[in-house]
């Protein structure tokens, strides 16, 4: 009995370790390739010379990082505020058109993104938001909204109504109920939608590619892809991988820290959906 079971366990862990290495290998390789010696950027030993080269590429890494941080911060803050208020309304209030609005919000998921981006390019121009990071953030909030509003509605519904009612009897307004009581109760949901919004906004490529036209407003992903595609002659892969590391590292770290929130939100989203 022990022999076959030991064999089964060994082969299970061997297979799993092999698969895990296969999945982690590209990330490890990119990190290694970004610091390894690279004659073309004048880096003889291991070090951060490729990152220095990246820092001086185009408008300068700081410009792109600032753009990315601004768009990400606006998107995360906007998504959290709009979805929290919306989720509260959907879960706790009855008003004309509530179900219709909720359906319309979810319908965003069903429309292919290019179908929206082409008219949004024109529309943002009319609104004076063409080539604007604020316009970009507003569009990214819209794309986050179906998932975020859904999660927040579920989070609010999971809180017993007796909590609100007790507070109301004590004279709280509905806004005080939200800020003083319910926000604490729905914090896991807030972490989930904040994390999703961060990962999406920080890494999004197609939306800024279409909506942002001047290089000084490019977020980092567009800038790095431009570096890859517009280089004349040979591509400096080491600098490219340095860009990949700058793009990937915050996502990987944040995911590892907030993993529980991510998986929890995911479960509630896909089980109910």
């Amino acid at each position: 009995m022990r022999g076959p079971r030991l064999f089964a366990r060994t082969s299970y862990y061997t297979t799993m370790s092999g698969l895990a290495i296969l999945f982690l290998f590209p990330l490890v390789w990119a990190s290694w390739a970004s610091v390894k010696p690279n004659p073309s950027s004048g880096q003889s030993g291991y070090g951060f010379g490729n990152f220095l080269r990246l820092a001086h590429y185009g408008q300068g890494l700081t410009t792109y990082l600032t753009n990315s941080l601004l768009v990400t911060a606006l998107t995360v803050a906007g998504t959290v505020v709009v979805a929290t208020l919306g989720g509260y309304a959907f879960a706790r209030f009855r008003f004309r058109g509530r179900d219709l609005l909720f359906l319309a919000t979810l319908a965003i998921l069903m429309v292919p993104y290019p179908t929206l981006l082409i008219p949004l390019y024109v529309l943002l121009g009319w609104l004076g938001l063409s080539n604007s990071l604020v316009g970009l953030a507003l569009v990214l909030i819209m794309f986050q909204l179906p998932f975020a509003a859904f999660i927040m509605r579920n989070s609010f519904e999971a809180v017993p109504r007796e909590l609100d009612e007790a507070a109301m009897l004590d004279g709280c307004t509905s806004f005080m109920v939200l800020t003083r009581i319910l926000l604490h109760a729905v914090r896991p949901g807030l972490v989930t939608i904040g994390l999703f919004a961060f990962l999406a906004a920080w890494s999004d490529f197609v939306v800024p590619l279409i909506l942002i036209s001047s290089p000084d407003k490019f977020p980092l992903p567009v800038a790095v892809v431009n570096m890859q595609q517009l280089v004349f002659g040979s591509i400096d892969y080491a600098v490219l991988e340095a860009g990949v590391v700058v793009l990937a590292l915050p996502c990987v770290l944040l995911f590892l820290i907030l993993q529980r929130g991510y998986v929890r939100g995911f479960m509630s989203g896909s089980l109910r959906g």
Binding site: R92, P114, P119, E162, L169, P221, I235, C251
Partner: protein, 323 residues
């Protein structure tokens, strides 16, 4: 809309006449304003959905009826943008390629994701680490992942050529992303599986964990082996989750863009040009927004039809009498 207010329908609060409920000490003025309050909380959502979703949806249909240059006044030209689609040789090839890609990627990705989900299904020592390892590529943005693979698969610095040559699988270095149409397609599929297998594994895992353990226990008592259990318990009960995953995969693949724009640049010889790439090219290389809008409308219509059919087929399978 039912006439009773929500507060009255709730348990615990007796439905007293308003005058009785309103005690002298605490004037309860919130109840009449519930409707307004709800509207106010929902207002930001409504504005975002209306301005950035519903208006563009109408606008894209309107644009598709016009000659709409990137700069300059639009003029009505319906239905030239739609008839023009048929004459666009790139579009036909892109449709064929996108369909071929969708079928291949869905089969490979679903197999990989389901396999991984089965492997990490049971709680045992170290399984959390494996789940994290498989999912971690999903935290990285797709464009970032495409750039990563551009280096990883390159002939100049990528480790794949040396490894495969050392193993004797290749006798000379190959350009994976631009060598031949099949290699470029294979590279894209590899990238997508690496980036999305863990994500889909997680969805499938939620479905697997929702199956009650006693079903398997009862089957084991009855002497059913692993395969019959999988065939008669796991698969039927996983139907809704599998349906969700397949719809996500198929929709995502039909709208593929990043991997071809960044990794293969549509090449070699436009062999990996997807439908969305055609839309972007029409709009921002040929500056013809009207034509891009028409293609977008066609894609939207096709996806609505496809998803309706998929849902109907999968839902029909949900009813026991059809099995």
């Amino acid at each position: 809309m039912p006439p009773t207010s929500q507060a009255n329908a709730r348990p615990g609060i007796p439905a007293l006449p308003a005058s009785a409920a309103r005690s002298a000490r605490t004037p309860r003025r919130w109840r009449p304003s519930r409707q307004t309050a709800g509207l106010l909380y929902a207002a930001p959502t409504a504005v975002i959905v209306a301005v950035f979703f519903l208006v563009p949806l109408a606008l894209v249909a309107w644009m598709s009826l016009h000659e709409w240059p990137l700069i300059g006044e639009p003029t009505l030209n319906a239905p030239a943008n739609y008839t023009g689609i048929a004459d666009n040789p790139l579009f036909g090839d892109a449709v064929l390629f996108t369909l071929k890609y969708t079928i291949l990627v869905t089969v490979v990705l679903f197999g990989a994701a389901f396999g991984l989900a089965l492997l990490v299904q049971r709680p045992r020592f170290g399984v959390g680490v494996f789940r994290t390892a498989f999912f971690l590529p999903g935290a990285v943005g797709f464009a970032t992942a495409s750039l990563l693979f551009y280096g990883l698969l390159s002939r100049d610095v990528g480790p794949l050529n040396p490894i495969l040559t050392a193993l004797g699988i290749l006798d000379h270095p190959v350009s994976f992303v631009g060598g031949t149409a099949n290699l470029a397609l294979g590279s894209s599929i590899g990238l997508v599986v690496w980036r999305f297998a863990g994500f889909n594994m997680l969805i499938l895992l939620t479905g697997l964990q929702a199956i009650p353990d006693d079903l398997y226990e009862a089957a084991t008592v009855d002497g059913a082996g692993r395969w019959p259990q999988f065939r008669h318990i796991t698969l039927p009960l996983m139907r809704p989750t599998i349906a969700l995953v397949l719809i996500l995969m198929i929709t995502g693949s039909l709208l593929a863009f990043d991997q071809f724009y960044i990794l293969t640049n549509g090449g070699p010889d436009n062999s990996t040009t997807s439908i969305v790439m055609v839309i972007v090219r029409e709009a921002f290389t040929r500056f013809d927004l009207g034509s891009a809008a028409a293609v977008s409308v066609v894609v939207l219509a096709a996806l609505i039809v496809l998803n309706t059919v998929q849902l109907r087929v999968l839902r029909r399978g949900d009813r026991p009498e059809d099995r």
